[in-house]
């Protein structure tokens, strides 16, 4: 299996994306910000379409839009945590712009745009080139390092914001930092498993880890490990069963892990 170049690329990119998603996802779930992550990942696709309309690299659009929206969300909410109504309103509008861009794209150029839409919505990890994979792995590593660097103060600020602020922890800046990391992760994950499914790697492994252990650092490691397992397993399964899209396989395993964790918790 590893003899194919596209599989090696998928594993390289997937490893970086999965580790970053698992780690950042743990904080996202802990803080109850899954909806914000969801909104960021859905608008990522608008960024990709927008880049196609303007004619620049897809990744430029992805990162510009997710990071921009992360900043807007942080600005809207108190403590850099937007409430669900403003998230919902803003992100439905951005999706509306996405619809407009699809229309512009399909009236302007000929052919291929249906493919762009499908790829950004659901990803194509087997379609990544060598350069894209290395970039994805490097960005994933960068996010992991960034998350580890702010893990301790962020944990404090998430669990008890008032006390953390009293101790001089920059609560707002940390919230913004986390949203920024979520933005980067979703933009990166969109290329691998798609704008609609990247939430699966953010929410499911972290949700499972938080159900299994209440120890923070163990939970973070477990979340990253489950995400990685889902990614590796998903790629292998979908290679073995060609009719199964890789994104579905990856998300399916992550959701299965979450269901198992919930069941074991009830059984214990």
């Amino acid at each position: 299996m590893l003899g194919h170049e596209f599989i090696r690329n998928a594993y390289l990119a997937g490893t970086g994306v999965a580790l970053a998603c698992g780690l950042v996802g743990w904080f996202t779930v802990l803080r109850g910000q899954v909806f914000a992550g969801d909104a960021l990942s859905h608008v990522a696709f608008v960024g990709a379409i927008g880049a196609a309309v303007v004619g620049v690299d897809e990744r430029a659009g992805l990162f510009a839009l997710t990071l921009g929206l992360a900043a807007v969300m942080a600005g809207l909410g108190r403590r850099a945590q937007a409430d669900d109504v403003s998230i919902g309103v803003v992100f439905s509008w951005v999706l509306g712009i996405g619809v407009l861009l699809i229309a512009v794209l399909s009236t302007g150029t000929s052919g291929g745009n249906g493919l762009i839409v499908a790829n950004t919505l659901f990803g194509s990890i087997f379609g990544l080139g060598a350069g894209q994979s290395v970039a994805a792995a490097a960005i994933g590593l960068g996010v992991v390092l960034g998350a580890v660097a702010i893990a301790r103060p962020l944990l404090f600020a998430s669990i008890d914001p008032e006390l953390a602020a009293l101790h001089g922890v920059p609560v707002r800046a940390l919230g913004l930092g986390l949203l920024g990391l979520i933005g980067v992760v979703t933009a990166e994950g969109t290329q691998a498993i798609g704008a609609l499914l990247v939430l699966g790697l953010i929410a499911a492994p972290a949700g499972a880890a938080l159900r299994l252990t209440s120890k923070p650092y163990l939970g973070m490691a477990l979340s990253a490990a489950i995400a990685l397992g889902a990614m590796w397993g998903g790629i292998a399964v979908s290679y073995a069963v060609p009719s199964l899209p890789p994104s579905t396989a990856i998300v399916g395993i992550a959701v299965g892990a979450y269901a198992l964790a919930s069941a074991s918790r009830i059984a214990l």
């Binding site: 999706l95 229309a103 499914l197 949700g207």
Partner: protein
């Protein structure tokens, strides 16, 4: 149908718009959906269940693609998938007393499980991609009178249920403890509301598409609640806003080459921003401090996570 252009004679424009049966159907369907979304969305925003609403909404995608694969009508798939998702979220929320984090993770997992299944159905079906866009972003073309009738039935059921349980539901939303003490079945209302939400969302997404339901569900309700603290008045306002957004969107998109979804979401967003601006302007006008009389329904809610205004 040629290329219609907008003139300055509004009556003439509306007349030309109503010449076509498909446009009349679209207006009827849009009106039904807007009234329903205005009411259900009002409760959804008040209960802070936007994420659950969004998740139920995107279930239309696996519903429709699963129905295509199984060879049953798409509408059946919509309602089934939305109903199942509503029940699952209700169970997950009910069993998790561990706070918002765990609940939002559960909702997120339900959502991606549904979407992943939908993507699988779609690739097994190997259908046309144009359908995918319609599914996600909606269309107002090709709505037949049978669909309008179905929407009407669903709307009557939804509004009827809400008319019966509306008051206890409001109490259970604003103050669950008091409601419980008075013998209101809070748990049953929570689960029941999610089902009603699922029904309304499944109907709405047939017009606006799975991803854009929110424009009608959240923005009008949020704008209305920002403008007045009185429940009854803001409920009416929410319906009016939803109707305005829908009619304006349909009207403009008929004369434009660009899609309905863009106009509906943009009008809804504009309305929300205007309402927020009006609220802030009024607050400053009245010398509004933290202790002043509430100017918006959200001000009287006990749901806000913490008094962090000063930070």
């Amino acid at each position: 149908m040629g290329n219609p252009t907008l003139s300055w004679n509004l009556v003439d424009d509306v007349n030309r718009l109503l010449e076509y049966q498909f446009m009349v159907n679209a207006l009827e369907a849009g009106t039904i959906v807007a009234v329903m979304a205005g009411v259900v969305g009002w409760y959804m925003v008040l209960r802070r269940q936007s994420f659950a609403g969004h998740t139920i909404a995107v279930m239309a995608f696996p519903g429709a693609s699963g129905a295509a694969l199984a060879g049953v009508p798409a509408a059946l798939g919509y309602y089934l998938a939305c109903g199942i998702a509503a029940l699952t979220i209700g169970r997950a929320g009910g069993s998790s007393a561990r706070g918002r984090g765990a609940e939002s993770a559960a909702i997120g997992v339900v959502q991606v499980a549904g979407l992943a299944a939908g993507f699988l159905f779609l690739s097994l079906y190997s259908g046309v991609l144009e359908q995918l866009q319609t599914l996600l972003f909606g269309t107002f073309l090709g709505i037949d009178s049978g669909q309008v009738l179905t929407l009407l039935v669903v709307a009557v059921v939804v509004l009827g249920v809400l008319a019966v349980v509306g008051r206890p539901l409001l109490l259970a939303t604003l103050d669950p403890e008091v409601a419980r003490a008075r013998g209101v079945p809070v748990g049953a209302l929570d689960a029941g509301f999610l089902l009603v939400l699922g029904l309304a969302v499944a109907a709405t997404s047939q017009i606006t598409g799975a991803l854009l339901v929110f424009a009608l569900l959240v923005a009008p309700a949020a704008a209305a609640q920002a403008l007045t603290p009185r429940p009854g008045r803001s409920l009416v306002l929410s319906v009016v806003f939803a109707l305005l957004v829908m009619w304006a969107g349909l009207g403009v998109s008929y004369f434009s080459i660009y899609p309905l979804g863009f106009f509906v979401t943009s009008f809804a967003f504009g309305l929300y921003v205007l309402a927020q601006l009006a609220r802030h302007a009024r607050g400053r006008f009245a010398g509004d401090g933290p202790g002043a009389a509430p100017g918006a329904l959200s001000d009287v809610l006990p749901h806000e996570p913490g008094p962090a205004r000063t930070m």
